[in-house]
Structure formats: C-alpha cells, structure tokens
C-alpha cells in the first residue's frame, strides 16, 4: 500500500466506509418493520393483528392438558373466516404496554393492531377511552354480544359496551401457604394477625390492593369518595409502617408464597391455578373480592370490521369454553360452563376458572374515577415509596 495516501484519498475512502456501514441498516430500516392494518373502513381484511398477554389463549399443549384435541381457536377462526391472525404476545404489563403505544396514539396514528387487551382496574383503559384512542365496535358484526353475561353488560367505563368487550377475568382474593399458617380469610387478619408479621404480601396495583382494603373497611370500591380513599390509604400505611407487609408485589408474590417467605398474600385466582401447588389455598375475602376483567378494544388505525368479526367468534360459547379451558381464566360468555362440561366434565369443578354464582355475588369492581384520579395515584405511589 502506498504510504503516501493523499488527504483526498483518505477522506474519500473514509466516507465510503462510513456509508457502507450505515447504508444497509438504512435500507433495512426502510424496508422492514411490522405490518400495519389498513385504517379499516367497512372492509374486512384478510389479516387480523391481535396483541395480547402471554399464555392468554389456548395452545396445543394446554389443549392437550385440558382434554381437547384439534386446532387452536385461532386456527379455527382462520379456517372459518379465512382471516389470518398475527397473534402478538407483547403485553406484559398495562403501564409498560401503554408507554410504548401512547406516543403514536396521541398523534392520531395507528399502532399496527386491530385488537389490544387491557385491564379494567388499571387507569390505562380509561386513558384509551377518554382520549378517544379506541374505535367503536361494529355491533352488527357481533350478534354474539348477546352472550355477554349480565354482570358485564354495563360497566362504569363503557356503559353501553360500545368500545370494549371482556376477554378474561380474574378474581382478587387471599392466598396462604398451608405449611406456614392456618387459613387467612380476611384482609383484617392479613393486616393485623401478629403471627403473619413480615410475611404478608400486597399488590403494587392501586385498584387491586385498595379495592380489597375498602371492602374490608366496609366501603364500596365501585364508588370511591375522598373519605373512603383516606381510610383505605391509612389502613395500608399502618400495615406498611409496622412491618406487617413484607413488600409490594407484581405477580412475583408467587415465588415467596411457594417457598414460604410469604405466609399469606393478596393473590390472583389465575395464579393459584397456574401454580398448581396443593399447599396454596385461595379464598375470596370475607368482606368480598374484586373482579377485574381484561378487555378487548380496537385502537386507532385498527380495522373495525375485522376485529368485530373476531370478537363475535370468541363470544360463541363453544369457542369461549375452549379458551377458558386452555388458559385457565374466567370467561364472560353465557353458557360457557355447560359447553366446557361437554369437553371436560371434571374441569368445570375448578371454581377458580368457573366460579359459582355465589362467588360472583361476592365480587366487586373498581371505580374508574379513582383509577384516573391523579391525586389518588400520587398518594398511592407515596405509600409505595415512590
């Protein structure tokens, strides 16, 4: 190589090198990326983009375990309607998912999805609806909406069910580890029993934790006032400061509960089912429990006809039964228990997946106004130390 490279030559070679470095990425960036749906107008697409939580639908493995054969419900949908489903299990938390999509939605852009799923006892469902980021369902394409159970027909955040439909529900209750303690059946016991000191878990979610506490205080979590909120926060703070409560958990209370670090904890029914540990028992608290529901909604840029067609499909009791059996969560479709009994008579004995009417009568929902109240959120976060 000629050691006497001129400055010109070097600069040219350098520039060429840099371009070579960045050009492929630029090209790839332009060409690649996730597919979006058409801004749906009247036409049913041949692709449905569906974002959901992990393991929130039936899979070949779970079908087999539940005694079902044949293709998954998603595959059945494609077979029936010809619509291919791009199923994304990219929701692992309401706040996290919201943070990744709010940018585009707030600018009126679509997010490349026709259906997303978000929980009703978190503020984010309210944010989607209040900010106009959800599209109205096409109920003419959802005749099966009549199969929606009555108790879900008119929730406070969407009284006429114009934007949302339940996917799965779960129950908030108390779980305890038999090896460590006797039954723990009330929030009062959870917070005041000295034997449980330092071995009690609560959730890091405001709706779930304060909801149960309000019930224990005799207040209605569905109609929160400043006084009832104050009472709940005080109860909680007392238990935190005294060291009764070990920690605020996401769903990671499951491990310490299993190993005995937690004697008892506020716990979700679905988790107990999934843990499959006979030592762990779950009850609805004496004062009542909270039921939360993950709702489907159509975000901006989604195709309303395509999404509505899918929603209609899953509101068929036969399909709903397969989903419930395959995912172990509570369905909101009428007749799901009977349909499930036909597939797997033993499975319907699991009241955590097929709750009885008595159980449902003890369930309450959160007040969306409390969830979207900034002042309440700030005070809650303060108790959590943040």
């Amino acid at each position: 190589m000629n050691p006497r490279m001129t400055r010109d030559q070097l600069l040219r070679r350098g520039a060429a090198g840099l371009t070579l470095l960045s050009l492929p990425s630029l090209l790839a960036a332009c060409g690649g990326g996730g597919g979006g749906s058409s801004a749906g107008d009247g036409e049913v697409n041949d692709v449905l983009n569906f974002s959901n939580w992990e393991l929130y639908t039936d899979t070949p493995k779970t079908r087999k375990a539940a005694g079902m054969t044949g293709p998954t419900t998603l595959e059945q949908f494609t077979k029936k309607t010809g619509i291919k489903v791009n199923y994304y299990e990219d929701i692992n938390g309401n706040p996290e998912y919201f943070a990744t999509v709010q940018g585009r939605l707030s600018q009126g852009q679509g997010i490349g999805r026709d259906i997303i799923v978000t929980t009703d006892n978190d503020k984010f469902l309210g944010e989607y609806l209040d900010n106009g980021w959800a599209l109205k369902l096409d109920k003419s394409l959802i005749p099966n909406i009549s199969n929606l159970i009555d108790v879900q027909a008119s929730p406070p955040f969407d009284p006429n069910r114009e934007y949302t439909l339940p996917w799965f529900s779960g129950m908030d209750g108390i779980a305890w580890n038999e090896d460590v303690t006797g039954p723990v059946t009330s929030v009062k016991q959870l917070f005041e029993d000295p034997d449980l000191k330092g071995k009690v878990g609560v959730w890091g979610q405001m709706g779930d934790t304060l909801g149960l506490i309000m019930l224990s205080n005799g207040d209605d979590p569905a109609k929160v006032t400043d006084e009832s909120f104050d009472r709940a926060i005080t109860t909680l703070k007392t238990a935190v400061d005294s060291g009764q409560i070990r920690k605020f958990y996401g769903n990671d209370y499951a491990q310490p509960l299993s190993t005995g670090d937690l004697a008892a904890s506020m716990a979700w029914s679905g988790d107990i089912v999934n843990l499959g540990n006979p030592k762990l028992k779950w009850v609805i608290p004496e004062a009542g429990g909270i039921i939360w529901t993950d709702n489907m909604l159509i975000p901006l840029g989604g195709s309303v006809p395509t999404a509505s067609t899918y929603m209609n499909f899953v509101y068929d009791p036969e399909i709903a039964a397969q989903l419930a059996l395959g995912a172990n969560y509570i369905s909101s479709v009428k007749g799901v228990k009977e349909a499930a009994a036909k597939i797997n008579p033993k499975a319907i004995e699991n009241t955590l997946v097929f709750p009885t009417d008595e159980m449902l009568a003890q369930m309450h929902q959160n007040d969306p106004a409390m969830l979207t109240n900034q002042d309440y959120t700030d005070r809650w976060l303060q108790v959590k130390g943040t």
């Binding site: 996730g34 899979t59 299990e89 990671d252 491990q255 299993s258 190993t259």
Partner: protein, 288 residues
C-alpha cells in the same frame, strides 16, 4: 577484614511454618475460587431447576428430577426465536460498539483537541440515564422519523450500540492510559507507517482489552430488557423480553434449560480456548 561466614545449616521449618507458607501461597487462589463460586451459585441453581418437574406452570419449588425439559426444550412457543434474536443482536451490536468505542477511546486518550473534556463527559451521560428514560426517549425519536426507522431489529440494534458504546470507551481507555508508546515508536523508527504500526503493534496489544470490553458489552446486550422492550416494536422479541412477558403466567423449566444451555456453550467455548492456549504454549516450548 571481613570473612564470609560459613552458612549455618538451616533447621527444617516446622510444620506450622510450612503450613502457613502453604496457606499464604494458595490463599489468593482459594479466595479467587470462592468468589467464582459465589458468582456461579445462582447459575448452579438455575441449572439444577432446569431438571425440575413442576406440576404447575411455575418453577419455584423442587418437585422431582426429569430430563424432559432438556429433550423438549423447544416446547415453549417463541423461546427459540427469542434466543436466536438475542444472540444475533448481541454479536452485531457488540462488534459495532467495540469498533466505535475503541476509536473514541483512542481519540480521547492520545490526542489533545478542542472539546476533549466535553466528549469525555458526554460518554458518561448514557450510562447515567435511567434505562426507562433512555428507552422511551429513543422510542420517541424513532416514532418521529418513521420514514427512516421502523421499529424492529434495526432499532433494537441501534439502541444496544448506543448504551454499550460508553462502557467500551471507558474500559478500553483504562488500557490506553499508561500504554507504553515505546513499542510503537520503535516500529515507526524501523520504517512502519502509522497504519501498519497500528495494525501490527497497537492492535495486538490492545486486543485483550478490547476483548474484555466486548465481553462486557455482549453481557449488557444479552441481558437488556427495558430498552429493548421499548424499541422492539414487539415484532422482535429478545430472550429477556420473552422471559419477562411470560413470567406473569408461567416460568417454565424450559427457560432454565435455554439459559443453562447458553451458559454452558459459552463455558465450553472458553474451555476450548484454554486447551488452545495450552497447546500453543506447548508448541512454543517445544520449538525452543
């Protein structure tokens, strides 16, 4: 006149003294192995639990031994793709970041230029930024430039290079500060130009430091969750994103299997390197 005293016969050191000498000689080795054991402790548990046969969907309590998870490691949907994605991005981002970072380190350490101090401080800023802020603000950038950037592999790659490069710079700098320039000067005195000197003298001397920095960068990349989650657009899932996503409902033993496998493969490669080092050492010995 001084006379050289005849050396007195030394008494054989007592057992206590010999034991103490033994301890002193090997104390450091013992300590080192202890620390390694401490680092490996959770890994051992991870590998152990990969053989667990849990009855539920979580893998928290030991219930029984099985080889099933290793045989059916791919049973969990998406796990294979996630691992491959993690490795791809890891290697690519690490290589690019190492190159960029080494260049920056050389510029800062070896040259005095306007803005040297500011550049030095600039390097520290990405490290000082909380991950969520880094991830979210990068996402905002990408979303405002959707003509050029579509969320996916490339955006994750860009993000990873971004947060790795600072670590590379600081690590390589540690080697460059106090680097003996005499060898390079000698080479140039013998007729090599700057580029040849760099290739034949500087680079080989710098290589172990670059390797250590790259190792660090790779570890950072393969373990990142927050920034990847924000900038992946969910089309592309890496292994940590996959695990965090699934952990809400299930932590299957297959996760342990895959994690253990990655670890064991890396160890195996390193063992291969040890063997290779032994061989080449032997060869140079034999050649003399």
């Amino acid at each position: 006149m001084t006379s050289v005293a005849a050396p007195t016969p030394r008494a054989r050191p007592s057992i206590a003294a010999r034991s103490w000498a033994f301890v002193k000689r090997h104390a450091l080795t013992a300590y080192a192995l202890l620390v390694i054991a401490y680092l490996m402790l959770p890994i051992a548990v991870v590998i152990l639990f990969s053989f667990n046969a849990p009855s539920g969907r979580f893998n928290y309590v030991w219930e029984g031994f099985t080889l099933d998870n290793w045989v059916n490691w791919n049973d969990v949907l998406g796990i294979q793709a996630a691992v491959i994605r993690s490795l791809e991005i890891g290697f690519l981002a690490t290589i690019v970041a190492t190159v960029l970072g080494t260049l920056i380190a050389m510029a800062i350490v070896r040259h005095r230029f306007v803005g040297r101090g500011a550049t030095s401080l600039l390097i520290f800023l990405p490290m000082a930024t909380p991950e969520i802020v880094l991830g979210a603000s990068l996402l905002t950038l990408f979303l405002n430039a959707t003509a050029v950037f579509q969320l996916g592999f490339v955006t994750i790659f860009i993000a990873h290079v971004l947060f790795i490069v600072s670590f590379i710079v600081v690590t390589v700098k540690a080697r460059l500060i106090g680097f003996d320039r005499h060898l390079e000067e000698a080479a140039m005195d013998l007729g090599a130009n700057e580029i040849t000197t760099f290739r034949k003298v500087t680079l080989p001397l710098l290589a172990p430091a670059m390797l250590a920095a790259a190792l660090l960068g790779f570890a950072l990349s393969i373990d990142d969750f927050v920034i990847t989650y924000f900038n992946g657009g969910s089309v592309t899932q890496t292994f940590p994103v996959f695990v965090w996503g699934i952990a809400r409902v299930s932590v299957p033993p297959q996760v342990n299997v895959v994690a253990s496998a990655i670890f064991l493969v890396a160890i195996a490669l390193a063992l291969g390197n040890v063997l290779w080092q032994y061989r080449s050492a032997k060869r140079t010995q034999g050649a003399t």
